[in-house]
Amino acid sequence: MAYSEKVLDHYENPRNVGVLEDDRSVGTGMVGAPACGDVMKLQIKVNGDGIIEDAKFKTYGCGSAIASSSLVTEWVKGKSLDEAAEIKNTQIAEELALPPVKIHCSVLAEDAIAAAIDNYRNKNQ
């Protein structure tokens, strides 16, 4: 399997790896399943103005799954929740030049954003 430069870069130097201390300002989304070969955990920290000021991830999965989640942590930072929810898997796939068999990794990353936002909103409603 040949990987794009960008996938390799995110895989070699993943951005924003880690765990955020859980409190009301943090939303956590975990999607995927071990038996399917990928699990993504994405966390967002939202400030008083409703802006995502930090994001962290941990991913069990192939290089493309790691790259997709690393990329979205960069993309969501500085965005409002509504803006972050606009991020589409096709944008992720395009940015990383994912081959067709790896599109599901970008779908999973989009799902992870939605799950993290949901979790934050549930905590703060």
Partner: protein, 407 residues
């Protein structure tokens, strides 16, 4: 470490390089100056010298397995030998019965041949191994019926390296007068094979797992008691009618030479390879949550098949780009299924996906093993640091109790 050539080849069960001593002999059988004749030519010396070279190789192969050279049939490799043995025996003995027994962990050359026979109307039983990969003789006995005409069980497994007890299986098969075929593609030069003692009727071999060339193999066909086969390749009647086709002198000479070297050097070679394998095993086994696949004792010296829990297989292979190894991961196979051999041992998908097969051979050095240990440890650590499953495991969460949101 600086003089290590990357990538490091640790895939000797996929194939081996040809030993330079073998290549030199093969090169003598190619050009006009060399032994290029057709071994079947009876009317001139070109044919006679080619035939003499083939006879010598036949003796060399027979010597490694303590057989009579007249029991050796040349083929194009172990795949063809398996096909000839299984289809040939099934077709010949069809009137005696239509039941065949094999194992789920066999090579595809055996499994797909059996599938074909099922389409032709044979019944095939595919036995499960025990968790350690070995066949329980009682399972075999229980599956045997008065219709059983053929048992096909491999010697050393290509993925996990475990060695089946073909001596005990042979005794049982002989007692029941059932033909016993053994795929020994992975065991020549690694395990002693004495066909005077073993009650094996048909045995498949190839050269390229034992430092000989690809594209040549042999089938052992027992003479006493005599085993009959229906030919699968028809033509000029070579190899006593069992396998037609002009003999490839250079390939056959290469296989003979490789098998002679195997016989002469296997004792010391296996000792050295086992030390390297143990060095690799000891280097990796001190990590948490690593699982060896298959029995460690009944195993060829050069094989270590090991799963790294909470690490995904494809990302591991990606991190190990400096190693030429095989993986049980779906992502590295054409079928997108994790290894069927590991599944047959009862390994779950995650462990099957995260398995790596290291196979060590004649040209592996201790420096390469030490480098490999460092590389694998670093890769596994990096990927576990990235893995939410690892965090959950460390927090004491049972992953089976989690409700996963599958997509």
């Amino acid at each position: 470490m600086s003089d290590i050539k990357l990538p490091i080849y640790l895939d000797y069960s996929a194939t081996t390089p040809i030993d330079p001593r073998v290549a030199a002999k093969m090169a003598e059988c190619l050009t006009i100056e060399g032994n290029f004749g057709n071994p079947a030519s009876r009317s001139h010396s070109f044919g006679w010298t080619a035939e003499a070279a083939v006879d010598r190789a036949r003796q060399q192969v027979a010597d490694l397995i303590n057989a009579d050279p007249r029991e050796i049939v040349w083929t194009s490799g172990a795949t063809e030998s398996d096909n000839l043995a299984i289809k040939g025996a099934a077709h010949f003995y069809r009137k005696k019965g239509n039941h065949i027994i094999t194992m789920k962990t066999e090579h595809k050359a055996v499994l797909d041949t059996c599938r074909q026979l099922e389409r032709e109307g044979f019944d095939v039983t595919y036995l499960d191994p025990r968790e350690n990969g070995l066949l329980d003789l009682e399972t075999l006995k229980a599956a045997t019926t008065d219709q059983t005409i053929l048992i096909s069980i491999m010697h050393a497994n290509n993925e996990i390296g475990v060695i089946q007890d073909i001596e005990a299986i042979g005794e049982f098969a002989r007692e029941k007068r059932i033909i016993f075929h053994v795929d020994a593609a992975q065991s020549t030069g690694k395990v002693d094979i004495d066909l005077e003692k073993l009650k094996v009727d048909l045995m498949s071999f190839c050269a390229h797992k034992s430092y000989g060339p690809k594209g040549v193999g042999a089938l052992y066909v027992r003479r006493k008691p005599r085993v009959r086969l229906e030919a699968q390749m028809h033509g000029g009647g070579h190899e006593r009618g069992m396998r037609s086709g002009t003999l490839a002198t250079h390939q056959i000479v290469g296989m003979g030479e490789a098998f002679q070297i195997a016989r002469e050097e296997m004792a010391t070679e296996n000792e050295r390879i086992r030390m390297l394998r143990d060095r690799l095993y000891n280097g990796l086994n001190t990590m948490e949550e690593v699982y060896v696949n298959g029995d460690l004792d009944h195993r060829i010296a050069g094989n270590l098949n090991i799963s790294f829990n909470f690490v995904e297989g494809e990302s591991l292979i990606m991190a190990l780009r400096d190693l030429a190894v095989s993986s049980g991961s779906a992502c590295t196979s054409a079928s997108l299924e994790p290894s069927y051999v590991l599944r047959a041992l009862g390994r779950n998908d995650e462990l099957a996906h995260s398995s790596i097969r290291f196979t060590i051979g004649r040209f592996t050095s201790a420096e390469e093993i030490d480098y490999t240990v460092e590389l694998v440890r670093a890769a596994v650590k990096k990927l576990r640091d990235l893995s939410p499953l690892w965090d959950m495991y460390k927090d004491g969460i049972d992953l089976n109790s989690v409700e996963w949101v599958a997509h």
